[in-house]
């Protein structure tokens, strides 16, 4: 009997052999499945082995890939039988035996469609439409070999839909065709099928919702409004009782903001306490004054990706005021659009979040340029790290704008990221903190009356006693009381639902707090008609309510009650089913990955999570990317394992985590030769910046340009190593070669490394300050460029500060840099310039200005995730307080700086300075001595930079003199004197003389000590350190 094999590629992969479906669990690896899919799509199910290798292992040589191909074929045969995949000479075939009948749905569709189109046969076109079960292999969305096939089949499908007049199918497949969509919507509406008409409206909107400022088609909107009336939230003021104090406080904030003093407001309260209602009240209130508004919610969809809630708020703002965008630079708009789409491409090394931050702030400024702007972000206690950083940046950068940023949150449970940023907002940013208490008895009665005016007093009294004055509970109890029975809040809402409706809603709740008709039908697992009935029932009892784009659960607590009702053993299956639906919808990889992980299906989650993590790295959400990628490291194989380990290493490097070097090593362990080149270059570069030149030399050894795309990176890494090992000419030559290899220096990572290296070289040649300005001007259009440059320059700047350049000149340079950087949007450079100005002011003795500049620098660095800069600025700020005699404050700041410095690539430079200041800030000689001991114990070999060591050695020597340990003092002083010879003509010679004066005095030679102090004072004067000079003269 003839063997029959059916391969399904449309809508998802599956194989049936002689009517028996091969179970998904039979495939334990991904490569054998991919091989089968690839062959199924090939003409005659056959490819040359080099074609297979080029498609599946594009970076590997034929020699490297051949064993992988054999392995994949072997595993495929284990599942499909010995004739499943056959390698014969140079050819690879799928079921080549003539005795096997093979049917492939994509091929059958293609044949049917081609025939129909050729003959313009409407009936045949209809058959082709029926044969198309979905897009080709949706689970392989990111596989390049499938992309061309998928696009071609899809185009063919749209053509046959048109030929067959299957408009509904056409709109479902291509909702961007507004003309057809609206015509169909009208047709459905006229035939009384309102559900379908509204569903079409949602689809039309969904196709454009990822574009900033896209508004619904006017005709479609009018049709929708004619069917269900305009979407209205109802007046919030109608349901707001009490809260007089909070409302008055909010009124004051709005009044102040209207005069250009923007502020954040945090509304805290337990679930159901009325945070959203108060926010909605404020929104109504300011809209009446002509303010613009935008609103986002953290939990709108489960598995959303970083920044989504803030972007949602901006998208809402832009939908309400699309013409505002006439003032937004296309570059900013593109940045926001890309972030909204969740597809930012692969990381090129730049800190893309800086671009996004600037774009977001610019849009906020634009919107706030009228009477005022209110941005609301709800449920921020659940927000990711990226969102919280963006919110804080927004508050800081819009301090002088007519902006109120309203954030609602629960008090428990909260994340560390949230608490950290909440404290920061409440501290320096002066945010208003409003904690919502329970309603009083009279307020409860008023709320009951608003919901159910005719309830008897005893029932109202009873509601008060059991509700605890929680508005949501009060409202729900009042509603249920109208029906004659007081029920617990969740039951009051959900208890009236029929079991199928409730079960459907439990599934839907898993997707998030918002959804549309397609999502509901897909997740409900019910026939369409029945699903519509359920949706109507849920609407009728106010479990869900309509929004412009679909529906949402009326209150987070309702959704939570539904989710709580799902037993754990059912959750995995629901998450899996949810993921499957999301794949069909082409949802973002982050969402799909989230559900696959929640389902425990880590292997299937790998490609989605990996893509999501790559996107997060690309937009600068490094910490979020790390937690994602680490969830799949154990399950990733082959190419995906290389990619996952690379993403992890890149993300760790970007946040300055010392583990980055070992992460690169792990990535190298699985990478092939070609992949290893760029990894080695990045690792070498990182090692150089970490001060670990031995590792850098080892990893770069034998890595030479080969005419390939990574040459520029390779050369720059060699150049950086040359510079830091004293070979300045070698470094210059490497820069020149790198530019020759890639004149455009395509990636931002390369550009930043290049600029950093050139900065260092020119500084060594005495041209640093001019070069810095020139580089800034040249690179002003690429904000991401600055991070590495300025991190590297933190040390270089010390030359300037401790050298003979007058402080006025340094301050001028810093201010000029700041202005240029600000107008170019180079945040890292703005932060650097602030820190530099603060340092110069400190050394010049202008403590108030120094404090202001350095505090701003601390905030700015923190917002953009520049840990080195933050630690550096904190250390300098501590010096300001130390000079004022505020030892405790200084110590507190240093404690904050230390862990940041440790996790920074500049640890070798920063650690010593932080310990040096800690020693100087000790409130007694004994404490200082203890600090020295702690520092010595904590400073490992890698925590040392010969240049920066003096920042610790001088205070340590002086402290040892004070506590009478002269031997130790001599040791520290000798080390300090060695360091000071490295940098001639700086304040460090003066500092060592001062330390020696202390030692000589302790040894009993007062006259020599006096002379040394005076020489030190003169030297301090030479380099314009007035405070230090005065201290030396005062003795």
């Amino acid at each position: 009997m003839k063997k029959c094999v059916a391969v399904r590629l449309l809508g998802g992969f599956g194989v049936t052999v002689d009517t028996v479906a091969v179970p998904g669990t039979a495939w334990t690896r991904r490569q054998p499945i991919t091989l089968v899919k690839l062959l199924a799509l090939a003409p005659g199910r056959q490819l040359h082995r080099e074609q297979v290798i080029a498609a599946l292992w594009p970076n590997a040589t034929v020699e490297e890939a051949a064993p992988r191909l054999h392995k994949a074929a072997h595993y495929a045969r284990r599942v499909l039988g010995p004739d499943g995949v056959v390698l014969h000479r140079e050819l690879v075939s799928l079921f080549p035996n003539v005795g096997t009948e093979v049917r492939i749905d994509a091929v059958e569709f293609d044949d049917l469609a081609s025939e129909a189109l050729k003959n313009e046969d409407v009936t045949a076109a209809g058959r082709a439409v029926d044969a198309y079960d979905g897009d080709l292999l949706p689970e392989d969305r990111y596989e390049e070999w499938a992309q061309g096939h998928r696009d071609r089949l899809r185009r063919t499908y749209l053509e046959v839909c048109r030929l067959a007049g299957r408009w509904s199918d056409l709109v479902e497949a291509d909702p961007t065709d507004v003309r057809v969509g609206v015509a169909l919507m009208r047709e459905r509406a006229e035939s009384g099928d309102h559900h379908s008409a509204l569903r079409l409206f949602e689809r039309l909107g969904r196709a454009r919702q990822l574009e900033l400022g896209a508004v619904p088609d006017a005709e479609a909107l009018a049709l929708r409004d004619a069917l269900i009336g305009p979407t209205s939230q109802g007046a919030a003021s109608q349901f707001l009782v009490g809260r007089r104090r909070e409302r008055a406080a909010l009124e004051r904030v709005v009044e102040e903001a209207a005069t250009g003093r923007g502020r954040a407001v945090l509304i805290a309260g337990a679930a159901g306490m009325g945070k959203s209602t108060l926010a909605a009240w404020l929104r109504e209130r300011v809209v009446a004054d002509g303010w613009r508004t935008g609103q986002g919610v953290v939990s709108a969809v489960e598995g959303a990706w970083p920044f989504a809630p803030v972007l949602d708020a901006l998208a809402d703002l832009a939908r309400r005021h699309p013409t505002l965008l006439d003032g937004l630079n296309d570059r900013y708009r593109d940045d926001i659009d890309r972030a909204l789409s969740g597809d930012a491409g692969n990381w090129a090394g730049q800190n893309a979040s800086q671009r996004l931050f600037i774009a977001v702030a610019q849009l906020a400024r634009l919107a706030a340029a009228g009477p005022g702007l209110l941005l609301i972000v709800e449920d921020v206690h659940d927000a990711d790290d990226g969102t919280m950083r963006l919110l804080r940046y927004l508050v800081r950068s819009c301090r002088d704008e007519r902006l109120v940023l309203l954030l609602t949150h629960r008090r428990q449970p909260t994340t560390d990221a949230f608490e950290r940023i909440r404290n920061s907002l409440l501290g320096r940013s002066g945010a208003l903190d409003l904690a919502l208490p329970s309603l009083t008895q009279s307020e409860t009665a008023a709320l009951v009356a608003a919901q159910a005016p005719d309830l008897p007093d005893d029932v109202v009294e009873h509601i008060w006693s059991i509700s605890g004055g929680v508005p949501f509970t009060v409202t729900e109890l009042a509603r249920s009381a109208v029906d004659g029975e007081l029920r617990a809040p969740a039951e009051a809402v959900l208890g009236s639902l029929a079991p199928p409706t409730r079960a459907a809603l439990e599934r839907v709740a898993l997707m998030g707090s918002t959804f549309d008709t397609d999502g509901f039908i897909a997740m409900s697992d019910l026939p369409e008609e029945q699903a519509f009935d359920c949706l109507d029932a849920a609407l009728a009892v106010l479990v869900v309510e309509r929004t412009l784009r679909g529906f949402r659960f009326r209150h987070p607590l309702i959704r939570e009650a539904l989710l709580d009702a799902v037993p754990p053993h059912r959750r995995a299956a629901l998450h899996r089913s949810c993921a499957r639906r999301l794949i069909e919808f082409g949802a973002s990889p982050a969402r799909i990955g989230h559900h696959l992980l929640a389902a425990g299906d880590t292997v299937a989650a790998v490609p989605f999570v990996l893509r999501a993590a790559q996107t997060e790295v690309a937009v600068g959400a490094f910490r979020d990317a790390l937690s994602l990628v680490e969830s799949i490291l154990g399950a990733a194989r082959d190419e995906e394992l290389v990619a996952a380990r690379t993403v992890r290493a890149d993300a760790l490097a970007a946040i300055g985590d010392p583990a980055a070097l070992s992460a690169y090593r792990e990535a190298l362990a699985v990478a092939d030769q070609r992949q290893a080149r760029v990894l080695r270059a990045r690792m070498g570069q990182l090692a150089v910046l970490s001060g670990d030149t031995d590792t850098a030399a080892a990893v770069l050894h034998g890595l030479e340009p080969d005419g390939g795309p990574d040459d520029s990176a390779v050369l720059l890494a060699h150049g950086a190593l040359a510079y830091f090992t004293g070979d300045i000419d070698g470094a210059r030559a490497a820069v020149a070669d790198s530019l020759r290899a890639d004149p455009a220096q395509g990636s931002a990572l390369l550009q930043s490394n290049l600029v950093a290296l050139r900065g260092l070289i020119t500084h060594t040649r005495g041209e640093w300050n001019h070069t810095l300005r020139a580089e800034l001007m040249r690179t002003r259009d690429d904000p991401g460029l600055a991070t590495t440059v300025f991190d590297a320059h933190l040390c270089v700047a010390e030359y300037l500060l401790y050298g003979p350049t007058p402080y006025e000149d340094v301050i001028d340079l810093a201010q000029g840099l700041r202005r240029t950087a600000q107008s170019s949007g180079v945040l890292r450079a703005v932060a650097f310039a602030r820190a530099l100005a603060g340092e110069a002011e400190l050394l010049a003795g202008n403590l108030d200005t120094a404090e202001r500049e350095l505090s701003t620098a601390v905030d700015l660095h923190r917002e953009i995730g520049a840990t080195a800069g933050e630690a550096h600025s904190l250390q300098r700020l501590a010096e300001v307080h130390l000079t004022r005699g505020h030892l405790r404050t200084a110590t507190r700041l240093l404690r904050r700086a230390l862990p940041l410095a440790r996790s920074s690539v500049l640890a070798p430079h920063l650690i010593q300075r932080i310990y040096g200041t800690t020693v100087a800030a000790a409130d007694s000689p004994e404490t200082a001595r203890a600090a020295i001991n702690a520092a010595k114990a904590a400073m490992t070999q890698t925590d040392s930079c010969d240049f920066c060591a003096i920042m610790f050695e001088v205070p340590a020597a002086i402290t040892c003199v004070r506590v009478g340990d002269l031997d130790a003092a001599r040791e520290f002083l000798a080390a300090a004197e060695r360091s000071s010879t490295l940098w001639e003509g700086t304040a460090w010679q003066a500092a060592t003389l001062e330390a020696r004066a202390h030692l000589v005095a302790a040894e009993g030679d007062a006259e020599q000590a006096r002379q040394l102090r005076h020489r030190a004072a003169d030297l301090f004067d030479d380099v314009a350190h007035p405070l230090d000079a005065a201290r030396c003269r005062a003795g």
């Binding site: 508004v215 005021h321 013409t323 965008l325 006439d326 009228g370 107008s823």
Partner: protein
């Protein structure tokens, strides 16, 4: 002989013709009296901003403008020293491109539309006086045509749309409710072969310029400075002043483009006028366009403002017809006009003073965009959804 109309509109330029169009569409008997010939050219920067294009779209008049080969402008470019900012015009408020039609096209089109809607338009008629009843209410106009034959029209409402030097405003004694503190002077001309397809605005301290593509492949290029500087430095040699000012405003990169194209044969100068907001209504009268409000041409929003006034006034006339008191409705017209015009007025007054540096001008342009956006929303509804009225 006295003729009777519901409304007489003095002036058939955009403000007057659009007002006549909208009132005629409400079924009113409307007469428009215009001193000039049909389709005569006039001083203008031509640029229609989004609110203006949205109005024309809504009134069903954009198609003829497009049909007249008016180039669609899909991007705006802002040039500052060392930096260029591009903003694409994305579809919103029913508008997916901006247009800068020559006034010979736009003005004629609006007047014809008014006639098609039932209004009577008479050219070559000069209004010289107003008629009042015993209470002082304006009841019509008097004047003469080109042959000096007297014209006398009785009407319920007299609308002054006769420009900055409005006879109607002068005769009713409409006071200025606000006057600007600065004015700018501009010189402009039409260039051929300049290859400009976007609105391009140039800002450098002390000077600004604009390039506006209009019909027949021509680009209207203006250069501006403060009226004070213009009077001190620019008198006499208009062409030399123009080119010098243009170079000041655009910098070397843009001026390099100019010699390759054909310079205008004729240049037009505008020495500056202070912006003002006039009382815009009274018993039996109302003012629209420049007759009631003039904002420095640096806003390039003059035609848009004129169309806005027409829309706002016609809305209130509709309210009167549905029973709202006349005084209340006309006061609402002025209130709404002032609410929309004031933020634009404030910004443009600062722009016209040329006391800004580059960061300050960028801030001003941010505010100007915000004000323009609010104007679009007020005219088209929130969310910028436009439906066409025919």
């Amino acid at each position: 002989m006295t003729e009777d109309y519901d409304v007489v509109v003095v002036g058939a330029r955009p403000a007057g013709a659009a007002t006549a169009l909208l009132l005629a569409r409400q079924g009113l008997r409307v007469l428009v009296l215009e001193r000039a010939k049909p389709g005569a050219d006039t001083l203008s920067t031509h640029a229609l901003m989004r609110a203006g294009v949205a109005q024309l779209t809504r009134w069903g008049l954009l198609d003829p403008i497009v049909a007249a080969d008016t180039p669609a402008v899909r991007r705006t470019r802002f040039h500052y020293p060392g930096e260029q900012v591009t903003v694409s015009i994305k579809p919103a408020a029913g508008v997916d491109a901006l247009y800068a039609p020559r006034r010979t096209i736009l003005d004629r089109l609006l007047a014809e539309a008014a006639e098609n809607a039932g209004a009577t338009v008479r050219y070559g008629v000069t209004v010289t006086g107003l008629e009042r009843d015993r209470s002082g209410r304006i009841t019509g106009v008097v004047g003469h045509d080109q042959s000096s034959a007297p014209v006398r029209v009785r009407s319920w409402l007299t609308v002054g749309a006769d420009g900055a030097g409005s006879t109607v405003a002068r005769l009713v004694g409409a006071p200025n409710v606000r006057v600007g503190s600065a004015s700018s002077a501009i010189i402009y001309g039409y260039w051929d072969g300049l290859g400009v397809t976007d609105y391009e605005w140039f800002y450098r301290p002390g000077a600004s310029a604009g390039m506006i593509p209009t019909n027949d492949g021509k680009v209207c290029v203006f250069a501006g400075t403060s009226a004070q500087r213009f009077n001190q430095e620019m008198s006499g040699d208009l062409r030399g002043s123009y080119l010098r000012l243009l170079a000041d405003a655009t910098g070397p990169a843009a001026t390099e483009r100019l010699p390759e194209s054909v310079a205008p044969r004729r240049l037009y100068g505008f020495p500056g006028r202070f912006s003002y907001l006039r009382q815009a209504h009274g018993a039996g009268w109302a003012l629209v366009g420049d007759a009631g409000q003039f904002i420095d041409p640096l806003s390039t929003n003059g035609i848009t403002d004129a169309l806005r006034d027409a829309a706002l006034l016609s809305r209130q006339v509709a309210a009167i017809l549905s029973g709202v008191g006349e005084t209340e409705a006309l006061a609402a017209y002025q209130a709404e006009r002032d609410q929309l015009a004031t933020p634009i007025f404030d910004v443009v007054d600062e722009l016209a003073g040329y006391r800004w540096d580059v960061p300050a001008v960028r801030e001003l342009l941010l505010r100007l965009n915000s004000a323009f956006s609010a104007e679009v929303e007020a005219l088209t509804g929130p969310g910028g959804v436009v439906t066409i009225e025919r």
